[in-house]
Symmetry: C2
Subunit: 184 residues, 2 copies
DNA sequence: GCTCTTACCTAGTAGGTACTAAGTAAGGAT
DNA sequence: ATCCTTACTTAGTACCTACTAGGTAAGAGC
């Protein structure tokens, strides 16, 4: 019974990582605190001690993601629209689990009752706004921004379903030529 | 307690309709037989009498959708690729609930453990194949087909999240010009 | 070595989960 | 008017759900 007692930061990181994987597999509605606790080697109240509630756990995961994303965007120079998109796709291609987390939660959270509904609404708005700004040199930048987001989300779904057939980076490059013009 | 006793076909249709709505809201993992039963004015074993199990219920919903889709495709003349896509989008714009059902299940069923995993894999494959055939006149028809599916799925997600801002049909028309060429 | 914070536990609550077994009664067929 | 199929019920099983109250002991600071 002598379990190791981790410092709070480490334990929280472990809980967030485990939960990320489980939500990617089962969604938030299918997530059980028991599974989280088991995979962390804790009891359920042990997990709740750190995150307060199941909703709190979800927000912890999303906030962690937000931080990671900001960090990643910051370290990459703010190049052209096309370069930025390619960088995002290359990064996503390396972390299918997290892409799946977002794919599942994005669909689940469409309903206003979902605890992440507002979070995803705000994120979507922010993303489209940022892309629209980058798309200023193109005609109809707002429309282009929506198409970029749509194509990325859609291609990611196909890639997640069948990674051996669909090459995310290659499919995106083909799509980018269509979106931004056929310059080689 | 004198409940009306419906003929099996009617009751099944009601159960399928109610479940369609509930899965769109909560996903399959979040679906409870109790909710289905309540919304049908039945008890849980009453529902199970018709569908056998929760998985059976999901398959009943999906098979019903399959039939409806086949019917709708059959009644529309098999025009050009562009016309076909536009018809699909116009139809989807009229039934957001069903589009949401597919959006949620498509993401949830990415994991092989999901009871609809194979169903959605087969559907995806079939859809891409059909679109690829229609896209024969274009260069790289297979790539184009994937892009069509991706754009539709992605635009639908944006539309479902904020129907008042995103006009599905208009967004698709703009996307179609980009995909198929700028002919007016 | 002692103290004190706190990470984590045990025990319990109140309720929901899918599903089964067996019986009742509605309503069409004769 | 009676029968018989079957839609649907009640009752019950075995288990999982998030969450709380209160206590124990691990390990850092002195």
């Amino acid at each position: 019974m002598a379990r190791s007692r981790l410092p709070v930061a480490d334990r929280r990181r472990q809980i967030v990582e485990v939960t990320t994987r489980l939500i990617a597999e089962r969604g938030f509605w299918g997530l059980s605190m028991q599974d989280v606790a088991d995979d962390c080697g804790l009891t359920v109240p042990g997990v709740l001690h750190h995150v307060g509630s199941k909703d709190g756990l979800l927000l912890a995961v999303l906030d962690h993601r937000d931080l990671e994303d900001k960090r990643s965007v910051a370290e990459q120079a703010p190049g052209t629209l096309r370069e930025t998109c390619a960088a995002v796709v290359r990064r996503n291609a390396l972390q299918p689990e997290i892409v799946r987390l977002f794919a599942v939660l994005e669909a689940e959270s469409l309903t206003p009752e979902h605890p992440a509904h507002e979070w995803f609404g705000a994120r979507q708005e922010r993303t489209v706004a940022e892309l629209t700004a980058l798309a200023a040199p193109f005609p109809a930048p707002g429309v282009l921004a929506r198409q970029i987001v749509a194509l990325m989300d859609g291609l990611q779904l196909q890639w997640l379903r069948d990674p051996s057939t669909v090459d995310l980076v290659a499919e995106w490059e083909a799509a980018a030529e269509r979106l931004f013009g056929d310059s080689t």
